[in-house]
């Protein structure tokens, strides 16, 4: 088929048109579902996850035992995950098992499930899923034990990303300017912020002490008001960035683990 050849050649946009042509000509529901599935794969390859999801969404299954149902559900959960919506990816996986009762396909969805659980910070569930995944693989006892150790170590309390509290970062900066930034992992910026606030406040005090009341109040305290409140806000933003970075680093480690331990086998 021309569509399949184009897909195999990596011409996904052209392939998607050819699949649509077949969809246009087909009346058979089973063929229609398969062609839509293939078309969605083209969109996934083109990184157009919304379009892929819309196409998959339009596939109708009268019977959840349909062999394509598993593949469609898998792609839906994967596209949700790649589209930055891990909660929906998990929901899609749960929906599949709820509707199909197909426990044999458990391993099929596990990598996305683990990644999505990590993204939604459900560490304990992620760890259990990972261990379950290893068990399903039927590795040799020695390898299984080694992998279990790696996973247990990876998810140990001390190795999990320690998320920064945005509220705490803001409160630290409210109490002592600059400390919120230090708490969020930006010691340099925190120190500079502290020095700026301290200098402005000293200037204000010095002016008032020397009888320059208007200068001290308006220029000193007015400016301090800006740097102080700006610093509080900035501490919150930095904490949020830090959390994102911690999450990404941790997921990258898990990702590497999944790829190195399973795909190469």
């Amino acid at each position: 088929m021309k569509s399949d050849s184009l897909y195999a050649a990596g011409q996904y946009f052209e392939a998607s048109i050819e699949y649509e042509r077949l969809i246009f000509k087909t009346a058979d529901q089973a063929d229609l579902n398969y062609l839509k599935y293939k078309k969605a794969l083209c969109y996934k390859k083109l990184k157009e996850y919304d379009r892929a999801l819309n196409t998959l969404q339009s596939i109708y299954f009268s019977n959840s035992k349909d062999s394509l149902y598993r593949f469609v559900s898998y792609e839906q959960s994967l596209c949700h995950y790649l589209n930055g919506d891990p909660a929906r990816a998990l929901w899609k996986i749960d929906e599949f098992f709820h509707r199909s009762r197909d426990t044999a396909s458990f391993h099929f969805f596990m990598p996305i499930r683990i990644l999505s659980l990590n993204d939604t910070k459900k560490w304990d569930e992620a760890k259990q899923s990972f261990l379950q995944y290893i068990e399903i693989q039927e590795f040799e006892t020695e390898k299984e034990e080694a992998l279990e150790n790696v996973i247990n170590n990876l998810y140990e309390e001390k190795n999990r990303p320690r998320m920064k509290s945005i509220k705490k970062a803001e409160n630290w900066s409210r109490f002592i300017p600059g400390t919120g930034q230090i708490y969020a992992g930006r010691a340099g910026e925190g120190t500079v912020n502290f020095l700026i606030n301290a200098s402005v406040l000293t200037f204000a005090g010095f002016q008032v002490y020397n009888g320059f009341y208007i200068t001290g109040y308006l220029a000193g305290l007015g400016f301090f008001n800006k740097t102080y409140h700006g610093g509080i806000k900035r501490a919150g933003v930095l904490a949020s960035y830090k959390n994102q970075k911690l999450m990404n680093d941790f997921n990258r480690k898990i990702n590497a683990e999944i790829l190195s331990e399973f795909e190469t086998d």
Partner: protein, 282 residues
């Protein structure tokens, strides 16, 4: 005679083959399903030898796909290739005229509407509505009134839009333009008042407090430390920059407000011109 029959036969066979290979039904399907990029790609790579009528349809579909993707210049180019004999002619020309209105190419839009050579209803009323809107966009409010008055009052499909355009005209007539010069002058007298005059009260009060505050600081330092003191010079400079930039800001604020008003009117007119086109042809 024998040769003539042979030629007719060959032509019929050719037309038959071309219809069989025609991508038109699939292109239409892509357009109906809103796969516009795909439709354009297919048209661009289609080498089927089409007849004139089919070519018109292809040009219309391509123009419509570009229009739907908001690529209005390319849409106009394709839509204008549709021939007068085509069933898509009227829609194509009205939409390419609208594309040019949207792009602000008013003379081009006028030329396109003129080329349509419409003499009968209901298209004539629609044309007058579009031309009336065009005059509004160009600021010819009296001429626009004349054109809107020509629209058939019994045309229910246009009644609402005519009313809306008349309301926009009334709003324009009652609108009092603000003067950037006046805003600058009053800001020079009382800092921030120009922005308040422009309608930006919050920003005006903030500018007022800032400029007056620096004024007081400069005055205090001048009184207690003298004109040559570094602090006097520093705060004096900040005050001066603040004062001048506030005057400039007030002038710009009025210009922005006036521009916003103009853009709002323009968008409202374009919206009212677009609605009947969709209703007429869909």
């Amino acid at each position: 005679m024998r040769y003539s029959l042979l030629i007719v036969l060959l032509l019929l066979i050719k037309q038959g083959i071309s219809q069989e290979n025609s991508e038109l039904p699939f292109i239409k399907h892509l357009i109906d399903k809103e796969f516009f990029k795909e439709a354009i790609h297919l048209i661009d790579h289609d080498t089927t030898p089409y007849g004139e009528q089919q070519r018109d349809s292809i040009n219309y579909y391509k123009g419509w796909a570009f229009y739907s993707l908001k690529r209005l210049e390319e849409s106009t180019q394709s839509l204008l290739k549709v021939n007068r004999e085509s069933a898509f002619f009227s829609k194509s020309y009205f939409f390419s005229g609208y594309n040019q209105l949207y792009l602000g190419n008013y003379s081009e839009a006028r030329k396109i509407f003129g080329e349509m050579n419409i003499r009968s209803e209901p298209d004539l009323s629609l044309l007058n509505l579009e031309l009336g809107g065009l005059e509004m966009l160009e600021g010819n409010w009296t001429k626009s009134k004349e054109l809107l008055d020509k629209i058939n009052k019994e045309n229910a499909a246009l009644h609402q839009q005519v009313f809306a355009l008349q309301e926009i005209r009334k709003e324009h007539e009652t609108h009092r333009s603000k003067s950037p010069v006046l805003a600058g002058i009053i800001s020079g007298i009382i800092p921030g008042s120009g922005k308040i005059y422009a309608g930006k009260t919050g920003s005006g009060i903030a500018s007022m407090i800032g400029t007056i505050g620096f004024g007081f600081i400069t005055w205090e330092n001048y009184r207690k430390a003298g004109i040559t003191n570094a602090k006097t010079l520093l705060f004096g400079s900040i005050f001066a920059v603040n004062y001048v930039s506030n005057i400039y800001g007030s002038v710009i604020s009025v210009k922005i407000i006036e521009n916003e008003h103009k853009n709002a009117i323009q968008n409202q007119v374009l919206f009212q011109l677009h609605l009947p086109l969709r209703n007429f042809f869909e």
